[in-house]
C-alpha cells in the first residue's frame, strides 16, 4: 500500500518535472548563481546548435534537496562542490562516462585528473577551484589578519561587524581549524569545545549570509566577513578596501566539478558541453568572470592580467588548505545540533 502510494507520488513528480527539456537539441544546466557568463553558454549554443537553459542554486545542499525532491531527470549537468560529488555518487544520482568520450580529457591538470571525491573521474570533470576564508576591511582594522582569530576571537575593532557564511559545512570546518581539531571529529570533548566556541563568539557576529557575502563588504555593512576567494576579488575590484586572508591555522579549499546527472534527458549534449568546458579558452572565460582558478592546462594565455595577479587567487604555497569533509551520520547529527544551538 505505502509502496504503491510512494510510486504514485514519484510518478506524479516525474511527469511534472519532465516538461523541462526532452527534445533533441537541448541542454539543461543546473548551476550556481552568478558564476558562468551568459556569453559562454551562448557560444556553446551557437557552436553546437543546441538550446541551453539554466536554473541556479545557492548552496550544494539546496541543489541536493531539489534533485531529491524530483528534479533528477530534468537536468543534464550540475556543478557540485567536492564533498557533494561524493554524496551524490553515493545516492546514485550520477551517470558515468568513458574518458574516450571526451576528446579534451587530457587537458585536465594531473593533480585534478584523479581525486578522492571521484576516484578515476568517472562522473565529473574539474570546473573551478578556490578557497573559502575571510576578508577584512583595511580601513577598519590594520593588524595581522592571517589568523582565524579574526572570525572566532575577533579584535575589538571588528566586533559586531562580521558577516559569516550561512553554511554549516564551511563555518564548522573553519572553526575546527581554529581549535586545531580534525573535521568530523568523534571526540566528545572536542565537539563540546566546538559548540562552546560558537556559542561564545556568536554575539560578535553581525549577520549570517552567503549570497550577501560580497555586498556587505562592498557597502561597509560588515568590516570583516567569511567569503570565497573569487568573490572577495570581485568585492575588491568593486572598490572595497579589503584584503583576503590566508590564515595560518588553515582555510577551506574547494573544487566545483561538472557532473553528468543520472537520467539526463540530453546525455549526448551534456558530453559535448563537458568537452567544451575542457577547452582552455572556454574555461578561461569562466575563470575571468568568476575569478577562481581552472583545473585545466593551457589556460594562462587566455586569462586577464587582473586574474593572473590577484592576491586572492595565489595562496602562499606553505599555507595549509583543507577540503570540507562529508561527516558520517552520527557526527553530522551532532553538527546539526551545534548549528541549531548557534541560531536558536
Amino acid at each position: 500500500m505505502k509502496n504503491a502510494f510512494k510510486l504514485g507520488v514519484s510518478a506524479l513528480a516525474l511527469t511534472l518535472a519532465s516538461g523541462a527539456a526532452q527534445a533533441e537539441g537541448k541542454l539543461s544546466v543546473y548551476h550556481w548563481f552568478e558564476y558562468i557568463p551568459q556569453e559562454v553558454l551562448d557560444k556553446f549554443a551557437a557552436e553546437h546548435g543546441v538550446e541551453v537553459t539554466m536554473d541556479t542554486y545557492d548552496s550544494n545542499e539546496a541543489m541536493l534537496a531539489s534533485l531529491k525532491a524530483g528534479k533528477l531527470g530534468s537536468y543534464d549537468v550540475a556543478v557540485p562542490g567536492d564533498y557533494m560529488v561524493e554524496i551524490m555518487a553515493g545516492e546514485g544520482m550520477l551517470d558515468t562516462f568513458e574518458h574516450t568520450e571526451l576528446s579534451n580529457f587530457g587537458n585536465i591538470q594531473p593533480q585534478w585528473a584523479d581525486v578522492s571525491f571521484d576516484p578515476g573521474r568517472k562522473s565529473s570533470i574539474p570546473y573551478q577551484w578556490g578557497s573559502t576564508g575571510f576578508s577584512v576591511n583595511r580601513d577598519a582594522y590594520s593588524g595581522d589578519i592571517n589568523t582565524t582569530s579574526i572570525i572566532f576571537d575577533p579584535p575589538a575593532e571588528l566586533k559586531g561587524k562580521i558577516n559569516v557564511l550561512d553554511s554549516q559545512g564551511e563555518v564548522l570546518a573553519l572553526a575546527s581549524m581554529h581549535l586545531g581539531i580534525p573535521q568530523c571529529t568523534t571526540d566528545r570533548e572536542q565537539l563540546k569545545a566546538l559548540n562552546a566556541l560558537l556559542q561564545g563568539v556568536k554575539g560578535d557576529w553581525a549577520s549570517f549570509g552567503s549570497d550577501i557575502a560580497k555586498d556587505v563588504l562592498v557597502s561597509g555593512d560588515a568590516s570583516a566577513g567569511m567569503i570565497y576567494n573569487g568573490f572577495s576579488a570581485k568585492a575588491r575590484s568593486e572598490g572595497a578596501n579589503i584584503e583576503y586572508a590566508f590564515p595560518k591555522e588553515g582555510f577551506v579549499v574547494w573544487m566545483d566539478n561538472v557532473v553528468l546527472l543520472k537520467d539526463a534527458p540530453n546525455r549526448d549534449n551534456a558530453i559535448k558541453f563537458m568537452n567544451f568546458l575542457l577547452e582552455p579558452e572556454n574555461i578561461a572565460a569562466i575563470t575571468n568572470y568568476a575569478q577562481y582558478t581552472a583545473g585545466i592546462e593551457g589556460v594562462d594565455q587566455f586569462l586577464t592580467d587582473e586574474v593572473k595577479t590577484a592576491p586572492e587567487l595565489n595562496p602562499p604555497s606553505d599555507q595549509p588548505g583543507q577540503f570540507v569533509m562529508a561527516c558520517d551520520q552520527a557526527v553530522q547529527e551532532v553538527y546539526d545540533t551545534i548549528w541549531t544551538n548557534l541560531k536558536k
Binding site: 505505502k2 507520488v9 525532491a69 556568536k202 553581525a206 550577501i212 551520520q329 541560531k343 536558536k344
Partner: protein, 308 residues
Amino acid sequence: MAGGGISSGGQGSDMYEGLGARLILPAWAIIGFFLVLPVGLMLIYSFLTKEFRGGVIWEFSLAAYDQFFFDRGLFGDEPPKIEWTYINIFWRSIWQAALATVFCLFIGFPTAWFIATRSGSNRQIWLFLITIPYWVNLLIRTISMKFLIRDNGPLNEFLLWTGLVDSPLHIINTNFAVQLGLFYSYLPFMVLPIYASVERYNFAFSEAAADLYASKWVTLRLIILPIVKPGIIAGCILVFVPSLGAFLAPDLLGGAKNFMIGSLIEEQFKGNAGNWPFGAAISMILLSMVMVVLTLYARAQSKEEASR
C-alpha cells in the same frame, strides 16, 4: 462553504440536484489538489523515519515530534528534558508577528478611515497609491528596504546631514529592522479590509451619536468599532498569519542570526540538516496553531451573528 452551495442549489427541484453536485466537482478537485493532498503528504512525512541527507524511509516514527519537544543533549544520549529551543523559536516568531500586526493596525486603521472618507474619485487614487508598491516583488522590496536603512544608506546620511544624530543609527540586523520589514510588507493587508468595512459604515450613526451628546471617544468605542470589527479582525489575520511564516525580512534585514519558524523549516529541507520529517512536523505544528486561531475567530463570528 461548499456545502452551503449544494443545499441552496438543491432546494429548487429534483432536476437540479444531480447537476449541483456535478457543478461543485471542480471546487472539490481544487481543494483536494491544492489543500488536502499537500497537507496530507506533509502529515504523513512528519511521521516517517528520516533518511540521512534528505529524503524519508517509509517506516513509522515519532522521532520528529520527539525532537521538537524533548532535549536529549548534544549527543542524544542524556535523559530527556523539555526542549526549549524550538518553543523559543516559535515564541519569537509569534511575538514578532503579533507586534507587526499591532503596528499595522495602528497605522492601517487611520489610513483606511482617511481613504474611506474621501470623495469618490479621490478615494480611487488613494487606494491606487496604497497598492502601487505591491506591484513589485516582495524580495526586491525587502532588499530595497535594506539599502535604505543600512549604516551608510540614504536614511542615515539624511539624519547625519540634518544634524539630528552625530553617528549613524544602527538599524540593520536588529529586531527593529525585522519589524520594519514585516510592517512594510503586510500593511495593505490591514488597510484594504478595514477600508471595505469603513466604506460601508453609515455616517448618520456618528451624527446621531453626536446629537445625543456622545463624545468622540464613546462614538468610536461603542458605535464605529463594533461595526467595522469584522474588517479589523480580517486585517489582523491577514497580517498575522503570513508574518508568522515570514523568512525574507528576518534573513535579509535581521541578518539571519536567529531562526524564525520559516527559516527553521527551510533549513530542514535546504540546509545541511536534510531532516524532512522534522521539517514536516514543524510545519504541521505551525499549521495546527494557525488553525486554532482561525477556528476561534470563526466561533466568535458565529456567536456574534447568533446574538444579533
